[in-house]
């Protein structure tokens, strides 16, 4: 029998970037907020032993415990989905701060083209991809979203400089760009020679000490090379733990409850009224009633908890009807490796978002009239701190073990550079998420089932952008250039990227989207679902900057909703299914 707690104004399910932003903004506005986090509490002091590749990278020290909770996976509808028994392709976070602890900090604004991708593509190229690709506008324009991007960048103190091909900015970055390095300079020089427009990557590892508008301080990055997959022992990486969570705590209106795993969103009379959760230490069950429930549990759990709680219409790939689980997208990763015989680089130094980028082949920055795909990707070189266990790169033809392997793995450890792209990922009707019919989690609830494979659009984008990456590498002077290849099918095993998107997508029409442009659910006005789950497709950048902007937009919506005493904040283009 669950114990019912006192009702609060707002409860968040998960306390990472999105839960933290909601908690900070609503508690500052005087509302009482409870944050339920399944993992443990963490702060900068808990990151003192971080410089340990084995513990935190190979053994996933900061990540979700997949023995308790994972997903099942299959490439297509005809296959039997099997559990992802350990993390591989992507690394899900857990604990206070979530993946915001171990992200790299590469902080972008999606392009105006991204937000109106269907309209703008059709206007210029017609229905280029065909109806199998479920391309949708996001129900919001870039101009409407611009202030929220800046709000997130200010809170996170992002370090950057002007990007001539990027989304227009009304303000400079809060802090100047990070230091450049010989590796970055080589890329910048090569791309300039090619007539492209390089700039320093916008970074959540800060170039200088910074105090954000909430009075939180972020320290200057030390370029120590333990950033990607690690927490920062200096407090120099923008994370919820050094920004929004302490801000929320200072108001006195925020209660953080750790080891609290939400298993159900309670829905009464067409509205979410609270959540049921398990104290994972004591095993006790609790109900937390709230006026507003905010689902901030990352893409996968956002989708799963809605399906598990029977909220919204599940997407059906056979009919194309329904919305929950729809438009799952990932990130396509074109690129080229370059091996330098005569040159050694300080690859072991670096920071998660120490990099240089060109956006000439992103979005619709280049003409697609004669191309058989849409969109593209940012193309970057990064210096994130090469790790000796994980990185044993050898030219192709080298065996994967034995004397020759060892010789080349050692020889090229500091002689290899990579130019890589964050390629955009377009939705396809067969790529989606639902509940698995067989496999259960530790609490007896069904695992989320992911059905996903690469599409023709993905392959063509990959091929084209890879050629550009290889050309840049050639201009950089590499002796051996190897182009990235796509596997025959999407593979859940090797790490690719933790840029999963979709499942609870935003839009202007309740027939084709799950949430409005405040991330308020069409089918449950007191439920806001925040995260990259709202992305109608994935753009050509890392997603967190856009996630942050949407979270600030949602925070404003929740405040409006509470002030109004309820109601839908946006009118749907077509009538809701429920009315």
């Amino acid at each position: 029998m669950a114990t019912t707690k006192d009702k609060v104004d707002v409860v968040t399910i998960g306390v990472g970037w999105t839960g933290g932003i909601i908690a900070a903004e609503l508690s500052k506005a005087g509302y009482n907020v409870v944050g339920l986090e399944r993992g443990e509490d963490r702060s900068t002091e808990d990151f003192q032993m971080m410089h340990d590749e084995y513990r935190y990278d190979l053994r996933h020290g900061l990540m979700q415990d997949t023995s308790k909770e994972t997903i099942t996976f299959r490439n297509n509808l005809d296959e039997l989905a099997l559990p992802m028994r350990q993390q591989g392709s992507f690394l899900l976070g857990s604990g206070v701060g979530g993946a915001g602890v171990h992200w790299n900090g590469q902080t972008w604004r999606f392009l105006p083209y991204d937000l109106e991708i269907k309209s703008m593509t059709e206007e210029k190229y017609g229905n280029k991809l065909g109806d199998e690709y479920t391309l949708q506008d996001w129900g919001i324009t870039y101009d409407e979203l611009e202030p929220y991007f800046y709000q997130f960048e200010q809170v996170a103190g992002i370090s950057g400089e002007d990007n001539p091909k990027g989304a227009p900015r009304n303000n400079d970055y809060p802090t100047p760009p990070m230091k450049s390095t010989p590796i970055l300079d080589l890329f910048k020089e090569a791309t300039k020679n090619m007539g492209l427009h390089p700039f320093q990557m916008p970074s959540g590892n800060l170039s200088e000490n910074y105090e954000n508008p909430d009075g939180e301080t972020i320290a200057q990055c030390q370029y120590c090379g333990f950033c990607e997959r690690f927490g920062c022992e200096y407090g120099a990486k923008s994370s919820p733990n050094v920004t929004v969570i302490p801000t929320a705590k200072k108001t006195g209106n925020f209660e953080l409850r750790t080891h609290s795993n939400v298993v159900e969103i309670i829905q009464e009379g067409g509205k979410a009224t609270g959540v049921r959760y398990v104290d994972v230490l004591s095993g006790e069950e609790f109900i937390q009633p709230a006026d507003v429930v905010v689902l901030t549990s990352y893409v996968l759990n956002n989708t799963r908890l809605l399906l598990q709680s029977n909220i919204g219409q599940p997407y059906n790939p056979e009919t194309g009807e329904g919305v929950i689980g729809k438009n799952y997208c990932y990130q396509i990763l074109p690129g080229a490796a370059g091996f330098f015989e005569e040159k050694k680089f300080n690859t072991f130094m670096g920071a998660g978002s120490l990099g240089a980028t060109v956006d000439d082949y992103n979005g619709d920055n280049f003409d697609h009239s004669d191309l058989d795909f849409i969109h593209g990707g940012s193309i970057s070189i990064t210096q994130t701190g090469r790790r000796p266990i994980a990185s044993n790169v050898t030219p192709s033809g080298t065996p994967s073990w034995g004397a020759e392997f060892k010789k080349n793995a050692i020889k090229y450890h500091n002689r290899t550079l990579n130019v890589t792209s964050q390629g955009a990922s377009m939705p396809h009707r067969n790529n989606y998420m639902d509940l698995d019919p067989t496999y259960k989690d530790y609490y007896g609830n069904p695992l989320l089932r992911l059905t996903y494979d690469f599409t023709e659009q993905d392959r063509k984008l990959h091929e084209y952008i890879t050629q550009v990456c290889a050309e840049i590498m050639g201009e950089m002077g590499a002796d051996i250039i190897e182009e990235a290849e796509m596997s025959e099918h999407y593979d859940i095993v090797p790490y690719q990227t933790t840029h999963n998107t979709g499942g609870v997508i935003m839009g202007a029409d309740s027939q084709t989207s799950a949430v409005n442009n405040y991330l308020q659910m069409w089918d449950s006005e007191s439920l806001f679902v925040v995260g990259a789950s709202a992305f109608a497709h994935n753009g050509g950048y890392n997603p967190t900057g856009t996630v942050g902007a949407l979270a600030y937009r949602a925070a404003e919506g929740i405040q409006k909703y509470l002030e109004n005493g309820g109601g839908q904040l946006v009118k749907s283009k077509s009538k809701s299914r429920l009315t």
């Binding site: 084995y54 996976f73 028994r85 030390q222 300080n346 130094m349 593979d491």
Partner: protein
């Protein structure tokens, strides 16, 4: 490589050979076992094998004992297999002198060997190559099964124990595992070999606190300076920066 760099490399190579007692014993075929299992080491050499000594201090290295393997023969088989994957060469020590076999022993005894963070609920199906690890076995069981079949294959192919084979014959046996040309119970041979390879590299390059990467020699080979607290002053440097590596030990001592 500049003349100066080359000189430094030669210097560090000589220093390494001196430190590691490399000239101490043969490192071919069965002779390798002498350096794996400390009790056969020749004490009269100028310096003892690094596996014999604690990384710091003068006492014996009590870490060099077994908490997972029960049978010396099986442990030696593991050791020889790791050395074939990451052999000693002109660049520096191989898996055995880096302590990799002990690293793997210690890992198999704990969370890693027990699949503590792996989803282990059935039903179990083989799945497609794109669906990943689907074995019902725990890693410790996979290693034992793999090592058992390494021996039976050696007996079948060459009528001798794996540890007594010539290096090339040992490679032939291991290649069969890498290419799924042998059958294991409950797991694919290539899954076992993938784990063995990954664990060998982890032992060679993880922080020495785990029992491998003896005296940070793995890191030195890759010119990886380990756990430095800041590269603020070096990050813009045009030249390659050589540094004495530091380990997590330095965070507490």
């Amino acid at each position: 490589m500049s003349e100066e760099e080359k000189h430094k490399t030669d210097e560090s190579r000589r220093q390494f050979l001196k430190n590691s007692g490399y000239f101490a014993g043969g490192l071919v075929g069965g002779g390798i076992i002498g350096s794996v299992i400390g009790w056969q080491i020749d004490d009269t050499n100028e310096t003892k094998n690094q596996n014999e000594q604690a990384n710091q201090g003068n006492g014996p290295n009590f870490n060099r004992a077994l908490k997972f393997f029960k049978n010396r023969g099986v442990f030696e088989r593991l050791a020889v297999a790791t050395e074939r994957i990451f052999p000693e060469d002109d660049h520096g020590p191989g898996a055995i002198d880096l302590g990799v076999p002990y690293f793997i022993d210690h890992e198999l005894a704990g969370d890693y060997g027990n699949n503590e963070r792996i989803y282990m609920s059935g039903p179990f199906h083989e799945g497609t190559p794109y669906q990943g690890f689907q074995s019902r076995l725990r890693r410790k069981e996979i290693f034992m099964e793999g090592l058992r079949v390494i021996e039976s294959e050696s007996q079948k192919e060459f009528d001798d124990s794996f540890v007594n084979l010539e290096g090339e014959q040992q490679d032939e046996i291991l290649a069969k595992f890498a290419n799924d040309e042998v059958n294991l119970r409950g797991v694919q041979a290539s899954t076992f070999f993938g784990l063995l390879r990954e664990a060998t590299l982890a032992g060679a390059f993880s922080d020495p606190l785990y029992g491998g990467n003896t005296n940070m020699e793995g890191w030195r080979m890759k010119e990886f300076p380990g756990s430095q607290m800041s590269y603020m002053n070096e990050i813009e440097n045009e030249d390659f920066v050589e540094m004495e590596p530091r380990a997590l030990y330095d965070h507490l001592h």
